[in-house]
């Protein structure tokens, strides 16, 4: 992507700071908490997300109800297990979550947002080290908190994305950027 030089950015608190380079790993795991909401209601719980190249495996568990769902798949399609007695399928996770649970979960975009991979724009704000603080992309406003360095990457502690009336809030307790895992996430 054509990286916009910071001179064209309007004066913001970090105007003279060049955005820090972002390399998005292809194999990683995170564990933490996620909340999806549509303004009226919210589903939240523990999240384990494993990404192996194009294959993802997300397990969500609500501590209160003890309920657990598994959202897994890859380029050929994905499945949601645990919501209904039988797994339900769709071509994209976004479509599946929207259709079955009524939430918006932009898994595709999140994969990049999680690492601060964004198309810099006039509204992008950075911290003093050039890591993105806030950014808007395709109607979503994404805010970052608690950047920390690990395994040679800068990783956020919290990522909140909002696109009225929807929200996706992630608090990441542990990151793990490992080599490709031997067995790929099972395909649907």
């Amino acid at each position: 992507c054509a990286s916009q030089s910071t001179r064209d950015l309007p004066p913001s608190d970090a105007a003279d700071v060049a955005p820090a380079p972002v390399i998005v790993p292809t194999h990683w795991q995170l564990s933490g908490k996620i909340a999806l909401s549509n303004g009226q209601d919210s589903g939240s719980g523990r999240l384990e997300w494993q990404q192996d190249g194009d294959f993802f495996n997300m397990s969500l568990r609500s501590p209160i109800s003890g309920q657990s769902w598994q959202l897994l798949g890859g380029p050929e399609g994905c499945a949601l297990e645990g919501f209904k007695p039988e797994p339900v399928m769709a071509s994209t996770p976004e479509e599946l979550v929207r259709r079955e649970l009524g939430w918006e979960l932009p898994v595709g975009s999140l994969k990049g947002w999680l690492f601060g991979q964004i198309e810099p724009s006039a509204t992008t704000r950075y911290d003093a080290n050039g890591r993105v603080l806030e950014h808007t992309d395709d109607g979503w406003t994404i805010t970052y908190r608690d950047w920390r360095e690990q395994q040679g990457h800068w990783l956020p502690g919290k990522v909140f994305a909002k696109k009225k009336p929807y929200q996706v809030r992630l608090a990441i307790q542990t990151w793990n950027l490992d080599e490709p895992s031997p067995d790929n996430a099972n395909q649907p």
Partner: protein, 196 residues
Amino acid sequence: GPARDRLEQFAKGLVTVRATFQQDSLDPKGQLIDSSTGKLALHAPRQFRWEYEAPFSQLIVADGLNVWIYDPDLEQVTVRAQSLEEAQSPLTVLTDLAQLDRDFVVGESNADGVPTLVLKAKAKDPAFKEVQIRFGESSPSEMLMVDLLGTETVWRFDGWERNPKIADAEFAFTPEDGIEIVGEPLRAPSATPLAD
């Protein structure tokens, strides 16, 4: 049955109660997925405070009208009408026997000699297959819930303290500013509307 008698004996004369809990989640093969600990406080008949302390903090407060689910890490609180919430989760069953019979089909079992209440939610498509509540001599020892995927969640209670003094504020929740509020809290019918 013996389990029902123990529940009624537990609920009799109970205004407030405290306890600690350990919550374990087991996968269908019985493997421990994770466990968390916390403490609970109940105020009969329908108020409760359920505080997860480790590994993640989370607070659930039912003030009798609304259930507030607050997550400090996500900086968000979700508020739902308590009546809706209750049909799905058995937390107030311990102190609100009317809710027990209204929302659940109640059976009994005596697995390995422990008097156990077996609850099946009457709700149309309940989030869980079954809830069991096992009783010790004078109080519930365990609550167990199995969801559609076969994940089992077990709460082990300990340190029951009957009728301790608990400030009303513990059964209320007011979000600090900056906290994202999801959902509309039900207003108490008797609350006078704010003058515009």
